[in-house]
């Protein structure tokens, strides 16, 4: 009997949950490791946040508005933990998504199904991202401690969330792409960590080192007549700062405090004043990461589609 045409497409609507996503989320939520990771993560983050609150409130003078300073410390600690989470946990979940199928000899069987490479990649992305999002949203109630103490505006939480979510998407897709190219999960995990750590820590460090030396050189050369060079330097450094979630959040908050504008700022890294207005680093990061995510997604789909065609 010829197979029914109704059965040709396993996913009839783009909003239908893929069987791969269902399987992976179900098996993840069945595992005791999931609850252990969630419990330990929340216990560590909340414990440290309370400790930070106690230390900050004991060490700061008891004046009007001092609780606001403590609130800011707690808030940025929590944001830092979110960034660490997406930098370390998201790649770990994604890096094994395809290479583990290869190692377990289930990949050929999965490729044999009518699921397209794009459907497989989307399903793997959703299931890898799902748990990271669960961890991110599980820590959101802790932010109420920071808001209770004051010193934090709601838009700062929105900035932080935008950056963290864009980073989670980008790093998960990076892990998936590396996984689609790697033979082993260990190799895929190490490569993904190297890339993500390079972005999160390497780029801001390099920018910091180069910025101080370049701005000194520009100032000592008395280069007030070189506005173009100074402008290019400002744009380059803004881009570098905007590539890392840590530096993007810190810089966005700093520029807002100085200029009072959430969306734009006038960079003056060269120390020569500024004639440019650029989008805030968090906006640049979100934009860059979304574009990069689309590119990496398409590369992963193409890679999966090309398996067996070499």
């Amino acid at each position: 009997m010829r197979p029914s045409l109704a059965r040709l497409s396993p996913l009839r609507s783009p909003f239908q949950v893929s069987p791969i996503t269902s399987k992976e989320l179900a098996s993840r939520m069945r595992s005791t490791r999931t609850y252990t990771v969630l419990t330990v993560y929340l216990a560590i983050v909340s414990g440290l946040a309370v400790l930070l609150y106690l230390v900050s409130s004991l060490s700061s003078p008891r004046t009007v508005g001092s609780s606001g300073a403590v609130g800011t410390v707690v808030f940025y600690f929590l944001v830092g933990m979110q960034v660490l989470l997406v930098s370390f946990i998201a790649p770990a979940f994604a890096a094994g998504a395809i290479s583990l199928e290869r190692e377990n000899r289930t990949f050929d069987v999965l490729r044999m199904t009518p699921l397209t490479p794009a459907q497989i990649v989307r399903a793997k992305l959703i299931s890898a991202l799902g748990f990271t999002l669960l961890l991110i949203f599980a820590t959101l109630p802790l932010f109420s401690l920071a808001f209770l103490l004051g010193g934090i505006e709601p838009f700062e939480l929105i900035i932080a969330l935008c950056v963290v979510l864009a980073s989670a998407l980008m790093y998960t897709l990076t892990g998936l792409y590396v996984s689609s190219r790697s033979r082993t999960t260990a190799g895929a995990t190490m490569t993904t960590y190297a890339i993500v750590l390079g972005i999160v820590l390497g780029i801001p460090l390099a920018a910091l080192i180069s910025s101080s030396s370049v701005s000194v050189a520009l100032s000592s050369a008395g280069s007030r007549s070189w506005p173009l060079l100074a402008g290019l330097f400002d744009i380059g450094l803004t881009l570098a700062i905007s590539l890392s979630p840590i530096s993007a959040i810190v810089a966005s908050q700093r520029f807002f405090t100085v200029t009072g504008s959430l969306w734009t700022f006038a960079p003056a890294f060269s120390g020569l004043g500024s004639w440019l207005t650029l989008p805030s680093p968090f906006l640049v990061l979100v934009g860059l990461y979304l574009v990069a995510s689309v590119i990496v997604y398409r590369l992963t789909v193409r890679r999966l589609g090309n398996i067996g065609r070499e």
Partner: protein, 315 residues
């Protein structure tokens, strides 16, 4: 229904190259509907590569394969895949899934509606005699049970073409017999089955058609009778027994399928020892009969008072 006039699998001028190495060279082959087709050849002959191309997992360097008239190199891959069930020689299962969940997962991947999945899994597990293990984690099954689960999995979307790579190789004798019976049952259900093996004798009991592969080429292809006429398959059976060796040899020679019987050259058994009932003796039989003939040979020896200690086919 596929017309009986047209082959369900048609391979036209197929070649596969990996850099300079040619894995398959100019393969032309037709598999009629309902056939159990044996692809026989030594390791490295290209059987698994050919099967992977038929399963749409590899693309050919040249030529094409048509499954029910649909090209595997065209843009109708999802339709082609609905026709095929492929069981690799070595495949994994998801350790976190039970046997029933494993079948239901693949049924979902092939678009079987949610309400039909659980009854389908139960039916398939019953077919492969694993229903009593439906709630057992798939990775805790024995190799032969896991193999049967694999067969159930490839039937989840009711494909008409089953591609089985070295399907009985890693199985114990009992599981081999069970698998053969299962394949016959599936063939009776109208499925076209292609199986690979390195030994023609291993598949001759179930195959209706066969092709011999050597160095990436088909050297012979046709119905099983045609293949056996040009390439009789010999297997070696070693028999250890207590009793008169001359009597045993005469009995064996009289049996159907026996090509040759001899004492191992290194045994150096004296004439007296050959007839001594107490001494353990060994005979090597070249045999090209079916398994039923081998069974008849064993029965004949035992009925004649030869005390058979071991009766083993050499791998």
């Amino acid at each position: 229904m596929v017309s009986n006039l047209h082959p369900v699998i048609e391979i036209r001028n197929l070649s596969k190259r990996y850099g300079r190495r040619t894995a398959l060279n100019g393969i032309n082959l037709s598999v009629p509907p309902g056939a159990i087709f044996g692809l026989v050849g030594r390791r490295g002959a290209g059987k698994s590569t050919l099967l992977k191309i038929m399963a749409t997992l590899l693309t050919p360097s040249e030529g094409d394969v048509f499954i029910a008239g649909l090209s595997i190199t065209g843009d109708r891959l999802p339709q082609v895949r609905q026709w095929i069930g492929y069981l690799p020689e070595d495949f994994g299962v998801y350790p976190e899934q039970t046997c029933a969940e494993y079948i239901e997962f693949f049924a979902a991947c092939y678009g079987v509606p949610p309400k039909e999945r659980a009854p389908l899994a139960a039916d398939l597990l019953q077919l492969v005699d694993l229903y009593h293990r439906k709630d057992t984690p798939a990775d805790r099954l024995t190799p032969s049970m896991r193999h049967r689960l694999g067969i159930a999995r490839i039937l989840a979307h009711d494909p008409q073409v089953l591609l089985l790579d070295e399907t009985t190789k890693s199985l114990d004798p009992r599981a081999r017999v069970e698998t053969r019976e299962l394949l016959k049952e599936l063939s009776g259900m109208g499925k076209t089955i292609v199986i690979t093996s390195s030994n023609l004798a291993e598949v001759q009991d179930i195959c209706t058609h066969a092709a011999i592969m050597e160095a990436g080429q088909i050297t012979q292809a046709g119905s099983l009778d045609e293949i056996l006429a040009v390439a009789p398959c010999h297997r070696n059976i070693t028999i250890k027994f207590l009793g008169d060796a001359r009597l045993a040899m005469n009995l064996i020679k009289a049996c159907r399928g026996v090509v040759d019987v001899r004492l191992p050259a290194e045994s150096g058994v004296s004439s007296d020892a050959l007839t001594s009932i107490a001494l353990l003796k060994e005979l090597r039989v070249r045999f090209d009969g079916a398994y039923a003939d081998a069974s008849a040979l064993l029965r004949s020896l035992m009925h004649s008072g030869v005390q058979v200690v071991t009766f083993a086919e050499e791998s």
